[in-house]
Every structure is written in structure tokens, then in C-alpha cells.
Symmetry: C2
């Protein structure tokens, strides 16, 4: 069985500027490394190629050794450096391409795309309608889900305004469902704009309470 | 008054492969050039940096002379080379950034973002919920709208399956409204996957007939 090594090359962040006229933010970029396949999840903004190159070097890799690049969605802090990875199959949101050839895959029916054993790209719409996450089952932490902006950061489980209003959600009801699914299957979650966190029993309980309140608020709105 | 020169650096295309198992496609990339400001609209796929660099060279420009990059939406055939333009303000769908600073602009309320006189980024949701188009008013062709995948190509006015099913639409009703708006204001349209076309009276009539049929079909579905 493959054992995947996960290294967060850059931890994302987001906060309002002091004058509240702008948002200061960058995404998380994560490497999934194994003897059989290397996957880079999210490529940061256009100004960050050096972070990726140095992060890969730290892991004994170059851009050409990346077999798959997955961008969890098409926002600019996740897709800025795709051209570094021309030997990779590129999965951007729910589209899969290499050169000008696009594979047709039914993500919209909820069907995952299997990259390798215990390594899948799963549809998790909500933040945008075509968000995906990467599920890595066989790691020393158990199942790790690299979730992009489905989760802004751990704190947004207690405070849904962080993912609904600050980060923005194209479909909050779908996003709640996708969040629930990931909390069910993950031991650890790597969110789009904060450090990795452990999925505790307490966190799941808090989420369940929030879901009921949120669905009530959505159905009334 | 500024006169803008428009050059299509690469004309987009899209078609089903012979075995119908994949789609072969690339986007359109367009340069808007003037003495005051240079704008590149859409950056093709990750494998196409040479096309952009050579196209700019043909126009006496380098990547560093681009002041704004606009990606009409976050699909992989439009956002593959953002890191070539690190001196530009980058507008990807409805987000505007430079480094890790994101300007807050109310595109979602229908409000355009003015780059310069007679040169605006306007919200045109439908293909994705955060698609934008670039409207250039002062050109030798009149008003040209660079519309990304709001229009797949001219033929999709007669055959809506081209933009609704082949290209895909996150919200067909919104897309019909955005298409109507652009057909009202444009003399010429540069679509995402085909050559520039003139907006004739006949084309508008055809569109009006289609809108009635489509809205009927959507309200019944």
C-alpha cells in the first residue's frame, strides 16, 4: 500500500486590511508525494512561483516531477502558476486537461476521479459551483482532505460568516453539504486560508448544531 | 480621446474528439493596446506562454508592458499563464488583485470596473457565476466586447446547445440576460472559442426569437 507524504508548501491566510477597503489573502499550496505519483494542490498567486519551486526542492523534487496539479477552484490565489507544470495532467475545478485535450468526467454527478490508490479528487461544490478537494487516505495522519476554500480555516466551523461572507460562497446550502461530507470522512483537513486542523468529535458536534441553524436561516431567506 | 488597437493573439476553438471521449479546446487571447494602457484578455492554457510572448512581440510589447490582465473566468484555458504578468493588476473573473491585496469591487451588483476612458470590465455572469467581459468603446470597429465564453462562437446564437451543453453554463437564464446586454451594446464580439463577429440586425433578431423559446424551456424545466 502506498504511503503518501503530505507537505504544506505554503500556509494560506486572509484578513481585511486596516482601512477595510481591501482583503489581504493568499491560498494554501500542498504537496502530496509518494514513490508512485506526485500531486501539487493549488498553485498560489501569480507572484509566488519561487515559493513552489523552493518547496519542491526541499522535498527533492522539481516542477517536472509533478504528475498532477489540482487547483481546487479557479480563483486567482489558487491558479497563478499553472505553466510551471507542463508535464502534469491539470485538474482545475471540475475540468481535467493536458494540452488542449479535456477529459470528460462526471464530477457534477458526485463521482470522484481516482488519481491512484487511496488518492482521489472529489467534487465539493459550494464556494464555487465547481470546487473540488483532494482526499488522501493512506498517510501517517490517517485520511487527510485538502479542501481549498470549502473551509476558509478551522475557526469558520464556529463562525460561518468567515466562509459565507468574508470568503464568499456561490451556494451556501451546497457548501454546507460538502462541508458535512468532508467532516465525515477526514481525520485532518487542510483549508484554503489557514493551518491544517484535526477533525475532533467536538468540531463535528459544533458543525451539526450550526448546520441546523444555517439551513433554517437559508430556508427563511 | 484614446483610440484602442485590438489584436487577437490567438483565436480559440473547441470540438469533440473523433471518439467523443474528450473535448479539444483552447481559449481566445486578445490584446487591447493604446498609448496609455495595455490590457491582455485571457492567458490561454498552461502550455501556451510562447503564443502570448510572440503575440506581444509582434505588437512591440513585452509581458512587463501589460498594465492589466483580465481573465474572463477561472477555467483552465483562460488562466494558464498569469505569472508572466507580475507588473499587471490581475482581474480574474470578479476578483481584482495585485500580489496578495484584493480590491473590493461590487461586480455582483452589476457595476463595471473602469480601467481607462472607454475601457471597462463588466460583469457578465452565466457561463460561470463570476464571468466578466471587457468593453472597448473607442476602436476603429466601434464598440468591441471581448466576451470570453459568454459566447462560445457566432454559431451559438442560432444553436444554443453550443453554449448551454457543449461549453456548459452554470446559469443559463443569467447567461441569456448577459448575452442580450452584450448584443445590445456591441458592434463586434470576440467570443471565447471562435473568430470575432459583427453584431448585425439579423443576429439580434435571431437572438430575440431564441430568448423567448429558451426562457419558455427554462421556466418549464
Amino acid at each position: 500500500m502506498d504511503i503518501y507524504h503530505i507537505d504544506v508548501l505554503k500556509e494560506g491566510y486572509s484578513y481585511l486590511s486596516e482601512d477595510k477597503q481591501s482583503l489581504v489573502a493568499n491560498g494554501t499550496s500542498t504537496l502530496v508525494k509518494s514513490p508512485g505519483v506526485n500531486v501539487l494542490v493549488d498553485t498560489l498567486s501569480a507572484w509566488d512561483s519561487h515559493i513552489l519551486i523552493e518547496g519542491l526542492k526541499r522535498n527533492g523534487l522539481t516542477c517536472d516531477k509533478i504528475n498532477y496539479v489540482v487547483c481546487t477552484h479557479g480563483h486567482s490565489d489558487h491558479i497563478g502558476n499553472l505553466n510551471l507544470f507542463q508535464r502534469a495532467t491539470q485538474i482545475v475545478g471540475m475540468s481535467i486537461s493536458s494540452g488542449d485535450v479535456y477529459q470528460i468526467h462526471p464530477f457534477e454527478k458526485g463521482i470522484p476521479y481516482q488519481i491512484a490508490n487511496n488518492l482521489e479528487v472529489i467534487p465539493t461544490p459550494g464556494h464555487t459551483l465547481s470546487d473540488v478537494s483532494v482526499m488522501v487516505k493512506s498517510t501517517h495522519l490517517g485520511t487527510v482532505v485538502i479542501a481549498g476554500d470549502l473551509f476558509e480555516r478551522e475557526e469558520d466551523i464556529k463562525d460561518p460568516s468567515l466562509w459565507k461572507e468574508i470568503a464568499g460562497s456561490e451556494n451556501p446550502k451546497l457548501q454546507l453539504q460538502s462541508r458535512e461530507h468532508i467532516l465525515d470522512i477526514a481525520d485532518y483537513i487542510i483549508p484554503g486560508h489557514g493551518p491544517m486542523f484535526k477533525v475532533t468529535h467536538e468540531l463535528k458536534e459544533t458543525h451539526s448544531t450550526i448546520v441546523k441553524a444555517e439551513l433554517g436561516a437559508i430556508s427563511k431567506s
